[in-house]
Symmetry: C2
Subunit: 224 residues, 2 copies
């Protein structure tokens, strides 16, 4: 099993890569993340690395390959990374561990993560990302499995499983838009807070047993 062996400078899973290649991947990831795929030129990457543009083509066949290495490196092992951090125990705690582990992955490979998640959606040629999509589905299905498990165990109420998964992933995936590594808490701590809010709810303690998924008063709707 792949052991997530070589992780350096935030570039994951680039086992047999030379230092120069790792440098290129790190700089390219940072640039893709901040300026987007189309907004980043090969000259930008070369300049950031302090090398000539030609050298990029010595190590990579084209721009797409650089992006692919960056993106694949960031999502390749996310599923394995998270799965290996799910402890035995109550399903709700597995969900909590899922969120914390995902946040940890985000913290470690932040630039590559952002690059792959942002560039992907602006790319009209989605077929290029098929492998990435497959992994993403596996990751999301894994979470849905945990949620179903928690429902079956009676730990959480009978909510819509895909929607619950989307809510949880939203809280994690949107982090890169506001997370400031200098100011905020760690991503892991943030994930803990979000888990608490989603699992226990915001409502103050007096809760009655309420199996109905509907909000209390559906009335009042100001039309204008």
């Amino acid at each position: 099993m792949t052991e997530l062996s070589t992780m350096k400078d935030g570039v994951a899973n680039q086992a047999e890569a030379s230092d120069r290649v790792l440098q290129i991947l790190a700089e390219a990831g940072r640039l893709f993340a901040s300026k987007g795929f189309e907004g980043t030129s090969m000259r930008d990457i070369a300049l950031a690395c302090g090398i000539s543009k030609s050298l990029l083509y010595h190590h990579f066949s084209n721009k797409d390959e650089i992006y692919a290495r960056v993106a694949v490196g960031s999502t390749l092992e996310l599923y394995l990374f998270v799965r290996d951090r799910i402890p035995d125990g109550p399903p709700s705690q597995k969900i909590r561990a899922f969120m914390v582990a995902t946040a940890e992955y985000f913290r470690r490979y932040r630039w590559a993560w952002i690059a792959s998640t942002t560039a992907f959606w602006n790319d009209p040629d989605r077929s290029r990302h098929k492998e990435r999509l497959t992994r993403r589905d596996r990751f999301e299905n894994f979470l849905r499995g945990l949620i179903q498990e928690a429902i079956d165990a009676g730990e959480i109420r009978k909510v819509d499983v895909p929607m619950t998964g989307r809510l949880i992933l939203s809280s994690l995936n949107w982090m890169h838009r506001w997370y400031n590594p200098n100011k905020s808490a760690t991503p892991e701590q943030i994930a803990e807070v979000f888990f608490d809010m989603i699992f226990n709810g915001l409502r103050s303690g007096e809760l009655v047993a309420l199996p109905s998924p509907e909000p209390p008063k559906s009335g009042r709707r100001k039309s204008r």
Copy 2:
């Protein structure tokens, strides 16, 4: 007060604009949303509109202005749009209305919304978006005010207000990444579901504290 008067083809707040300008804004918004700002050329926009590239420069001074009109149109009135849909009543219901109204705005101006939220983050020159940032802050502060109100009213527990706001906005802002207008429920319905999950929590209903006459269900009891 601005009345959100002219909204056509999903292009908001373009009052005195001609049909052609509205067409350009609509097509540009759609293209920016799907291919990003850098990935969309002026030729692309002209082709999508069935006009010459020169005509774009007759109606707009440059590419940035087209983007600005698209982005400003989508966020200009978000705050007012949502504020006007907050009913009187319990603060928790105000938060619910906030989420539903934001979702409605997303549904109406989907392309412009996506274009402005995605292109913005890939733009190294953030100063261009200062006005947009100001509005975004006002919008977020408005939500935080509602949350604080709900805490003061005892409706929700003493959570971290900024973090709670981020969780709520995450659930709404991430929607454009997975929402499929042909398959899923309406954004408003999704917002209702998310509100229910966040407000009531996922945990199956057990009494916590409070002098409730009901006998606690035997068995499983989780602290926290």
